[in-house]
């Protein structure tokens, strides 16, 4: 077992982990952050995406020990007093159906917009390539991200 100190959604957690433990399993099983989900075993689907020190990462492709000393934001810690504009836009544009891909999709979109605040439709699609959704056909997800970009430009 290895000791790790990881700040998750603003709270410092000091835990013992098996060295082989994936960050996503650490988050779900040891910290109880079950809002972050597992969708595949090949790092293909992006359902487990979190922000690792502010940048999006698939938490199935990071070991918990690699995240030692880092700060993780999950979907459960994204909102402050109000929802993040990306969350609000997903609701407004019906950018989710079953919601399983949604935590990862939202956090990928947050990272995408921090890199490129004015994305074109093609740039949004390319930016979300690592996140699979089986319900929406991406149409309303793309609209959601475009709306969030507009909202965030407005200084929100």
């Amino acid at each position: 077992m290895t000791k790790v100190s990881i700040t998750v959604d603003g709270v410092l957690h000091e835990s013992e982990v098996e060295p082989r433990t994936l960050l996503v399993h650490y988050l779900r099983e040891q910290v109880g952050k079950v809002g972050t989900v597992v969708g595949c075993d090949t790092s293909s689907c992006g359902a487990c995406t979190i922000l690792l020190d502010g940048r999006s990462a698939k938490s199935c492709s990071v070991l918990a020990v690699q995240a030692d000393g880092s700060s993780v934001t999950t979907i459960e810690g994204l909102a402050g007093d109000e929802w993040h504009p990306v969350q609000a836009a997903f609701k407004e544009c019906h950018g989710l159906q079953c919601g399983y891909c949604t935590p990862g999709m939202v956090l990928s979109a947050v990272d995408l917009l921090s890199e490129n605040p004015n994305p074109t439709e093609a740039e949004i699609r390319e930016g979300l390539e690592g996140n699979l959704c089986r319900c929406t056909g991406y149409h309303n997800i793309v609209k959601s991200v475009a709306l969030a970009a507009e909202t965030m430009k407005g200084g929100k």
């Binding site: 075993d41 293909s44 689907c45 079953c98 919601g99 929406t136 056909g137 309303n140």
Partner: protein, 793 residues
Amino acid sequence: MTELAEHVAAIGRPLKRKEDARLLTGKTQWTDNIQLAGALHMAILRSPMGHAKITKLDVSGALKYPGVEAAYGADELGDLNASVPCVWPVTDDMVAPDFPALAKGEVRHMGDCVALVLAGTAAQAADALEGIVVEYSSLPAVIDMDDAIKDGSPLVHSDKGTNKCYTYKLQPQGDGAYEAAKAKADIVVKRRFVNQRLIPAFMEPRAVVASPMGTSGELTIWSATQVPHVLRVLLALVTGVSENKLRVVAPDVGGGFGGKLQCYREEILCVALANKLGRPIKWTETRSEDMMATHHGRDQLQDIEIAATKDGKLLGLKVDLIANMGAYLQIITPGIPLLGMFMYPAIYKMDAYDFSCIGVFTNTTPTDAYRGAGRPESTYAIERIMDELANELGMEPMELRKKNWIKHEEFPYTTVAGLTYDSGNYEAATDKAMALFKYDELRAEQVKRRASGDKVQLGIGISTFTEMCGLAPSRTLGALKYVAGGWEHCTIRVLPTGKVELVTGTSPHGQGHETAWSQIASDTLGIPVDDIEVIHGDTRTSPYGMDTYGSRSLAVGGQAILRAGEKVVEKARLIAAHQLECSANDLEFDNGVFRVKGDPSKEKAIQAVAFEAFSAHDLPDGLEPTLQAESTVDPQDFSYPHGTHLCAMEVDTETGKSTIRSYVCVDDIGIQINPLIVEGQVHGGLAQGIAQALYEGAVYDSDGQLLTASFADYLVPSAPDLPSFVTDHTVTPSTTNPLGTKGVGEAGAIASTPAVINAIVDALRPYGVNDVPMPALPMTVWRTLNAARQGGK
């Protein structure tokens, strides 16, 4: 009393979804989130072989691993090794092999369950699978359906002596009618289409937790299922646990698309073991397990022949299917082709129809329902061959369709397959779609590109589809030998404070029932949407239901909501009349308020009536307290959504790459409850249908190795692989249900596949291409084009 908000008409408004708050903040209740004290985690050892004898199985080695409490093969499991049920024996002589939860001596597809381990954590259970000693002696596998029905083929079930599961025939006009129609024909076009195997690939992997709860031997089963009610009945039947001791809960469920319409062996094993050991048992599949052990969809060989006059009037249609059952039968495996059987004639008038289907066993994962279930296959075949017929006749493909479709003034219309379509307006949907698509301009551009020999050719694909929804009238299901009924249930309770509990038997997994059902009840009761709580997916709190599949939830379940709401209002009216001292007939009910006709100052809100019904101090004599009602509705008939889908495809003749330039669809699903949700359903369906055309296909090698057993190998499209869509609608209400709704869950998936392939073929027609296999990946298109250029076909 609480201050009550006023009711605003809700049906037809694009309300934002109630569900989204928890889904967008990570507060969702997925089955895998459930952690119970003392739970044992199950891991399953699966066959790496397509077909083999198990010559040795020793699970004892697993017991030496840390945390392991038990390990089972079929021998150890003994009587607990129940069989997976099939509830649709389509013919009296159907071959139905035993499908034990753990294989008994022989494995018949990659992913077949061989043994299992129970341990303290999921990781410990997975580790301990290494300790199981298993030896296989490989048997010849049969994968190809044509091969499977040849004499001398290796047999999937040697004790059955055949790979044929059943042969089904439908000749509504009698034997020989098609041949007679064909004899009058000037032209007969015959094709074989391959409707390839797909994997549902819902995003939330399957998961089950079964736990003894309470003191009376009850078992609670949480499962990522579409069908908690159906599942409870089947688990009781196959495990022997008394039905009234079983509670099945479908918490938040992350997609299904038919793939979670099942009674899976893993569900059976969790229940049997939790019941035996008195401990919670939990299992969550990996994605690779999902790809090989969740049932697959489609996989039909379609020999289709259409006969017509030289001016394009259809005379008859003959369809001979070979449908892949896979290695075993699951819940409705054999019935899937029959759901398509009635729909091959689609929207077209003709004199004779002849259908046959052979179901065959192969050493592959069992097939079953996948979005559309039989109807995408039929729609693909008919819409493809309509284009082929138009080409051979030298007719514009839309003109051929117009010449043969049922005209709007001809409804209700009984088709050659024997169904009576209640309503539709194919002309209106098509006119709207063609205008949005700029059909004539695109055709003109196509002519120019062909003339200039542009290396990127333009193709236009048409699909004027209809589907059969609202499954289903119970008597019809009985006539088709399906074991269960097709009704749906709703209970509505107006609580003393005026808030409403709506208990539905439908079981959503992404469709937004909590929002849409609130809208229906809101307008019926005159109570605001936000005051209505929709309760679903738990056999304790919603004891009756037939669940969610086949675009049935609104078309059937919506009727139960409406009727239960009407009953509540009828009862409230009696109480209001009593208290306002008038006759019930003298009351009008508007926006949640009863008013005395002619004296509108005398009024009583339905919420106030609910309190009176609760206090019961002053009710009419003989009327029972509480304001609630239930309704179980058996639908009068199916509903028939339709639409016109148009795809403009640019095909690079040098690389074979197909790029959708525009996709327009105009769907007629009758009355829409929530247009926002409707649009989302169409988008998602389009993505899955387009994915069948362009990207997805489950592939086995000749030994039965599934080569597409992960998301790294099976191409579920991501955002850059799809375009934005232009969606619109016409509204022709259904006349078979009082809401006038038809169903929308499968429309996009059914309609889009032939539109896309028709577009690619249309682009390449000048090169002699008359078909393109699915998925039309660039390499496949390029090879097809080159073969045609070299005069291959």
